[in-house]
């Protein structure tokens, strides 16, 4: 299977582990992700206002690139890119006059975009589509019932028009991990917001969120937190470290992209991960389970 | 502005009751439509519809119960069959099939009644008065 792939900015820098692991995993699963040519910023985040159409230009341009690629599906790893692209497409699909205005503005583009030509697919959805037996067959390492907390955050599950699964109780990650031999724990905070971009201007809020989310995961027995969003990863990882530095009684949990773990289980060399990008080193837990 | 003349035929149990509900809910809709209440949409004969066009209607709306909900078990399916074929034939006869609309509106759908009426009126207004519509040429 071939699919167009849109990385987005952070995947090439802070979240490089997400990209490396996901692409390696997809290769194991016979999926060829072909990076879009000449991609630009997705315009993060989706503009919710009805009259600020300028903000829709970046995502629509990206979708135009995808349309020009000739493939009708576009893979995103970053949940923010996923959310922005998908909602922008929906926005112009539902608002004909606004779509026309946007297309008029972009008349230098050779291709016009109408809203439903490209299916924006998140990595989790793509993995979920793969036959569970095939997935199981590709798993070569025993996770030894590694207890994991699956964290979705906001952008994969909200609003419900673009949600990859049930808004209140998504199960995609759980199903994948179960198939891979892990034990997802009960985790009521899995769709709770991590405070997102407020980490820049109101770190205090983000810290409190991290504390709540990590506490809940640990309390329910998780050995690590798995997620699929570079910003969530940063917030939960970095702020845990800060919390721990302030108060050593605060116990940390390593945070990994779900693809990092799955790739290791599928036999990808664990060393493709750049462990220096982690604030809480996941290696001790992985080592304990014999996964390194 | 062109004010189309539209005749509606609707069944007593669903669509007329839905129209009544639109009234009790005070929903405003286009006044161009005047209804004829029959017991069931299946009472409406294609002959009546063509007659309405002959007498100068610019559009005809038929309202019945939703499929499966007909007060007379199956009347609305009979209507559906008749209207389906009549629309094809109308195109051949040079009357645009868009001028005839069959919709299912239940007694509980006052809002929908108002919406359908307004929408249909606008659609006919856009089409303009009933004229010789040479549809074959359009097709070419």
């Amino acid at each position: 299977m071939e699919i167009s792939y849109y990385p987005g900015c952070t995947l090439k820098t802070k979240a490089i582990n997400f990209e490396t692991s996901a692409l390696a995993l997809l290769e194991k699963l016979d999926v060829k992700a072909i990076e879009l040519k000449d991609w630009n910023c997705c315009g993060v985040m989706f503009s919710q206002s009805q009259d600020n159409l300028m903000k829709q230009l970046a995502p629509i341009r990206t979708l135009i690139r995808a349309k020009e690629s000739g493939r009708d599906r576009l893979l995103t790893l970053c949940s923010m890119c996923y959310n922005t692209l998908k909602r922008s497409a929906l926005f112009i699909q539902e608002n004909e006059d606004k779509r026309d205005k946007i297309n008029d503005f972009m008349d230098l583009e050779e291709t016009e975009y109408f809203g439903n030509e490209i299916e924006v697919v998140n990595i989790l959805t793509l993995l979920d589509e793969i036959d569970k037996d095939k997935l199981k067959a590709s798993i070569v390492k025993d996770a030894k019932d590694l207890k994991v907390a699956t964290y979705y955050g906001c952008l994969l599950t909200r609003p419900k028009e673009v949600a990859i699964d049930n808004v209140e109780d998504p199960q995609i990650m759980e199903n994948l991990l179960e198939a891979a031999g892990c034990k997802p724990v009960y985790f009521p905070f899995k769709t709770e917001c991590c405070a997102s971009f407020q980490v820049v201007s109101r770190k205090d809020i983000a810290r409190e969120r991290t504390r709540k989310i990590v506490d809940s995961a640990r309390k329910n027995g998780a050995e690590m937190i798995l997620l699929a969003c570079p910003l969530c990863e940063y917030n939960l990882d970095k702020l845990q470290k800060e919390l721990h530095e302030e108060d050593s009684t605060f116990e940390t949990l390593p945070v990994l992209y779900v693809t990092q773990l799955l790739a290791i289980l599928a036999g990808v060399d664990p060393e493709i991960n750049d462990y220096s990008k982690h604030y809480i080193d996941p290696r001790p837990v992985l080592e304990r389970k014999g996964l390194l | 502005m062109f004010e189309p003349k539209i005749i509606a035929f609707y069944c007593k149990w669903c669509t007329s009751a839905g129209a009544d509900l639109a009234g009790t809910s005070r929903l405003q809709y286009a006044p161009n439509i005047v209804g004829i209440r029959v017991m069931c949409s299946s009472r409406v004969d294609p002959e009546h519809i063509l007659n309405a066009f002959k007498e100068g209607a610019d559009g005809v709306l038929i309202g019945g119960c939703h499929p499966g909900d007909c007060h007379y078990k199956s009347g609305n399916y009979v209507t559906l069959r008749r209207i389906t074929l009549l629309k094809t034939m109308m195109e051949d006869l040079g009357i645009s099939a868009d001028r005839l609309r069959l919709d299912w509106i239940s007694a509980a759908e006052g809002k929908r009644f108002a919406e359908v009426v307004t929408e249909f009126t606008e659609q006919i207004r856009e089409k303009g008065p009933l004229k010789k519509e040479s549809l074959k040429e359009e097709a070419v």
């Binding site: - | 002959e47 007659n51 499929p67 074929l85 051949d92 009933l130």
Partner: protein
């Protein structure tokens, strides 16, 4: 008093109705014995001037067949109307427009274009079209004006009675002539045929199932027609139920479905719409998609259901209104 004077005339027609008169066979001698035929262009040499010379109302009855589309036909119809006490629209074309009436599905321009410019096998390098007046060395030639649409006789002149059919049967003709001669006529405007439908005289109607339900539409050209079964019940479109009786179900006798030449029964104005309604009533499906597909197998419904009656259909009536 001499014998009543009778005239026959044809407008746009195929000649079949004239043939039907001849089909009276030896009975025609009785007719000739009882009446004076004073005008019958197809059989005898009369000229228009002869008719013009007659006194108004001097013809007892004029039988006119054929639909009306040209100035000449209008002129002759009006002339004969003036000279006749009774005018009988004779045959489907005069009655309802008939087969020529199907031309109303196309515009005048389309017809002209097809016939003079686009007909297969046509050689017309100079793109010549007929002209109302054309100069030739011998002088001026004129052609009658070709109207926008085909009309039934009563859409042009007042008609007293109708003898339906394509063509009317000898028995009906004889019956009508007798009734006129004996003065036993129904009120003006009646169709001189029974009020029942073709099913009444169709021998196959006894074979009908309790409920006629059809799952597929069959076409005579593509399917074998059963010899002794109700054709409608077998899925063939037979207009019998929507058509006035009087023919004796002749078509079904020769294993063809009824095409409706006698027109609708009394009380039905639009034969095509009525038959459409009836046909859809017996189609056995409640699934919208299946219905759509089934209805698509009804080929050319307008041409089929209005094969003989398009000019008198509701549709033509509103077209006429628009033209006016």
């Amino acid at each position: 008093m001499g014998k009543p004077k009778v005239a026959f005339y044809w407008n746009a027609s195929c000649g079949g109705c004239e043939e039907a008169v001849v089909d009276l066979a030896e009975k025609i001698l009785d007719v000739v014995a009882a009446v004076d035929i004073i005008f019958w262009p197809v059989a005898m040499d009369f000229k228009k001037e002869d008719v013009e010379a007659m006194e108004d109302g001097s013809i007892a009855v004029c039988f006119m067949n054929g639909a009306v589309r040209t100035d000449e036909q209008v002129e002759m119809s009006e002339l004969l109307r003036k000279k006749s006490q009774l005018v009988v629209a004779f045959g489907s074309c005069a009655h309802m427009g008939g087969i020529p009436g199907l031309a109303n599905l196309s515009t005048r321009e389309e017809i002209m274009h097809l016939v003079y410019h686009n007909s297969p096998g046509l050689v017309n390098p100079d793109e010549v079209e007929p002209q109302l007046v054309s100069k030739v060395p011998e002088g001026e030639l004129t052609l009658p004006h070709f109207h926008e649409s085909v009309k039934a006789l009563d859409q042009v002149i007042d008609v007293d009675y109708y003898l339906p059919g394509c063509a009317p049967t000898p028995d009906m003709i004889m019956g009508a002539v007798t009734a006129i001669l004996e003065g036993k006529l129904p009120p003006k405007g009646e169709v001189l045929a029974p009020n029942k439908t073709v099913c009444e005289s169709c021998k196959r109607s006894e074979t009908k199932p309790e409920k006629i339900k059809i799952k597929a539409i069959k076409r005579p050209a593509l399917n074998e027609l059963p010899e002794d079964k109700c054709l409608l019940a077998e899925g063939f479109i037979c207009m019998g139920p929507a058509t006035r009786d009087g023919c004796g179900a002749r078509c079904m006798d020769v294993n063809m479905p009824c095409r409706g030449c006698f027109g609708p029964p009394k009380g039905v104005e639009d034969q095509g719409a009525k038959f459409l309604s009836a046909l859809c009533s017996i189609v056995d499906s409640e699934d919208p998609k299946e219905i759509e597909e089934l209805m698509e197998t009804v080929i050319d419904p307008a041409g089929l259901f209005y094969m003989f009656s398009l000019p008198t259909s509701m549709r033509n009536k509103f077209y006429d209104k628009i033209e006016r």
